[in-house]
């Protein structure tokens, strides 16, 4: 197990290093630059800025000094928002994306699991067709349509929630529901598929033959196996959900991480792009690393292969 862990750890580090290097060089190949402004910048001023952020040094030097800073845990200052540290930007924004993401996940599981289970148990009845049609609509309807619809109904018409912003204790609801509904649709369909497969197996029939109550067969015996596809999906999805969605954060004007992912690219903010991408990579790798360990711990075959 130790060897397996070390092996996976080494792989994870390589992946992060590759992501770091690719991001570093690719953003510098893109046209545009972080100091562009609508009013032309006098060459002297530009020179001061370029020197301040070390952009006048050879690319290799920049690469290694940046990597050195990252190893020391210093994510450098932002180039677009001058005077701001990237670590502060991320520290402020990440918790918000995390709250929205986890709440969305709660919505997704709370709606998706029951719907999927009921649909599987009552296969080919209206309890199956109804929720599954809704799920299909949910998958097809993008968040930038769903968001404004929810806002129009719950924000502007019934005035239950704020339409945007991050001020009141209820401001997470609409964004989380918008995001959660899409995932709920996926989870419902996955749960249904997983459950259907399990419900046809011999051990379920055995359980029923033994006289186990119907609800117990479904929730205890079948659900364990039926949920496997959902669990496999949730692992990697977790990193994506919790680091924020640009569209959701834009529609609801949330100060989360998702906006920085995209706007830092528009701004060509070299250092902030790198910081957000590396953060995302580290999260994704960490979640996968833990999932691997978990699976290996449950299933010895994986360790040996």
């Amino acid at each position: 197990m130790l060897r397996f862990t070390l092996n996976r750890l080494a792989q994870s580090i390589v992946v992060i290093l590759v992501v770091f290097s690719l991001t570093f060089f690719m953003i510098r190949l893109a046209p545009g630059d972080p100091f562009a402004s609508p009013k032309a910048m006098p060459p002297d001023v530009r020179k001061v800025l370029v020197e301040r952020y070390g952009l006048d040094k050879p690319l290799a030097v920049q690469y290694f000094t940046t990597m050195g800073s990252y190893l020391k845990g210093d994510l450098l200052p932002s180039m677009s928002y001058q005077g701001m540290w990237n670590s502060k930007i991320i520290k402020d924004a990440f918790p918000i994306s995390l709250i929205i993401g986890l709440s969305a996940l709660g919505v997704a599981l709370g709606l998706g699991l029951p719907a999927g289970i009921i649909a599987a148990v009552r296969k080919n009845t209206w309890l199956d067709y109804g929720p599954m049609s809704l799920a299909l609509i949910g998958i097809c309807l993008p968040t930038f349509v769903m968001g404004p619809i929810l806002i129009a109904i719950f924000g502007l018409k019934w005035r239950l929630f704020n339409v945007a912003g991050w001020f009141e204790k209820t401001d997470w609801v609409l964004p989380a529901v918008t995001m959660g509904l899409i995932y709920a649709a996926y989870i419902a369909r996955m749960t249904r598929g997983g459950m259907l497969e399990v419900l046809n197996q011999d051990y379920i029939r055995t359980a029923r033959a033994k006289g186990v109550p119907g609800w117990r067969v479904v929730l205890v015996h079948a659900l364990r196996g039926g949920l496997l596809p959902v669990v496999a999906f949730l692992g990697p999805a977790l990193a994506g959900i919790t680091t924020g969605s640009f569209i959701i954060e834009k529609i609801f004007n949330l100060p989360g991480l998702g906006q920085h992912f995209v706007s830092s690219v528009f701004n060509r903010d070299y250092s902030l792009i790198l910081a957000t991408v590396v953060l995302y990579a580290v999260l994704l790798v960490a979640v996968n690393f833990l999932t691997d360990l978990l699976v290996a711990w449950i299933n010895p075959k994986v360790r040996l292969s």
């Binding site: 562009a36 502060k88 709660g106 834009k250």
Partner: protein
Amino acid sequence: MPPLRLLFLLCSVLATAGLTGCGADPINAREGAREKIFLINNKAEPRFLDLQRCNSVTEHHIMLSLYQGLVSENRDSDKDVEPGMAEKWEANADKSVWTFHLQKNAKWSDGTPFTAHDFVWSYRRMLRKELGAQYAEMLYLLKNGLPLYEGKVKEEELGARALDDATLELTLVGPTPHFPLIACHTSWWPVPRHVIEKHGGIYDVMNPWTDEDKLVGNGPFKLKRYLFRQYLQVERNPHYWDAANVKLDGVRFYSIDDDAVEERLFRRGQLHATYSTPLSRIPDYLKNHPDIVSNYTNCASWYFRVNTTRTALSDVRVRRALAFALDRKSIIDNVLRARQQPAAGMVPPMAGYTQVKEFSFDLPQAKRLLAEAGFPEGKGFPKFNILISKNEASRQIAEAVQAMWRQNLGISVGVTQQDFSVYLTSQQKLDYDICWAGWNADYFDPATFIDMWMTDGGNNETGWSNKDFDQLLADAKQCADAQERLAILTKAEGILMRDSPVLPLYFGTRTRLIHPAVKHWPQRLLDNPVWYHLDLVYPPPASSMDAELNRN
């Protein structure tokens, strides 16, 4: 099974998530009116809070609340100023030496006495290359300003002297009758030496003196709270020289860049003033809610830059043909629909200035010019592209113009969209054919629209150069007579239009949604809010949108 247990754990985390989070103080427009806190969308996140590094309208509107210069724009008139930190001022006969007498009770927001030396120190700081201030060139107007910037003279030789604590003398490079209007610009405002020096290097961009607990200013308000990407809030500054006449207790600036989002916030009663209005909603607001929508001309010119180094476009007849083939009125009536004015020249209407009216929609003229240039009916004209940034209004305008040039002149034009930062870089590198652009006045004077086109000027970006034009600009700078100076500028604009490196399209308007509680919203050409004059009334008067705005 551990994964299953993990899921349940997750669900319990969510239950708590709903109860925590969301830190900022909630406030809606109605409560804001009661507590005199003005809620405004400011469009973007400020990139700097260091006054002397600021370079955008976003930052400017925030700085107007935190700082004040020698004089302020007059609250009622665009072409006049009113006292700011200076209670009175006078100039010598040729208007090249100006003396300002500061307010008697002038203080910084931390209570430190404010003196004329603060201005002198600020100007010296601004004129140092290490600071990297984009607007440093505004101070070249001071005697020895440029030489100081270039490190050729000592700081003491700069044409800014404190005669005593309360008197400032500014010696300019030449006669400048309109200097007070120029001095309204942020580049002429003071920064707090005692605070900057206390917290770090004077020129260091990472000096934390602009943090929410450290920033000190001299304006009607002081910084209270800055939540990055949420809002910036300022509160009453009790040490402001005229604090008794400030009506608001605070201003909250949001940084929402999407106009659909800000319109929804407004309709939900979460804002007192939007920054703009979605293009598609403007006609409806103008027609059905004239009391809510505030539509006014602002001092902005919108035009196409032409890259005069490109083959066909280097021919002045071609550029003029393109300009004559633009049906400006049709674009305004059918695309923009916010009461903009067709632009026949570069400079928007300004009192006292005679505009150049070079271009109208004149198809026969356009066709004749194109034929003279060797492209009758557009035959053989090389294909070129209109460069725009990624934004809906630009795209609609570019497509309308594309159709006009194709139908009217028979030439084929493409449209290229680029990310804003790439679009700016392309212009600077002259890597475009024709480019959609706009210019907002920095200060209320025609020169702000004309100076930019001088040979090799940083904002010229067309490759165009004309010696007579440059000479006229130099003459205008040396002219002590205000009327005569404006006449020279008109002549210069005439040359610019005749050579047509720019194809003017329209003069802009602003369309903001303003809550009925707002009093004294300035419908001004420069569109700068006068924070110390603005007021909110409670309860808000009746309006055509009460059903939406005042419900909770």
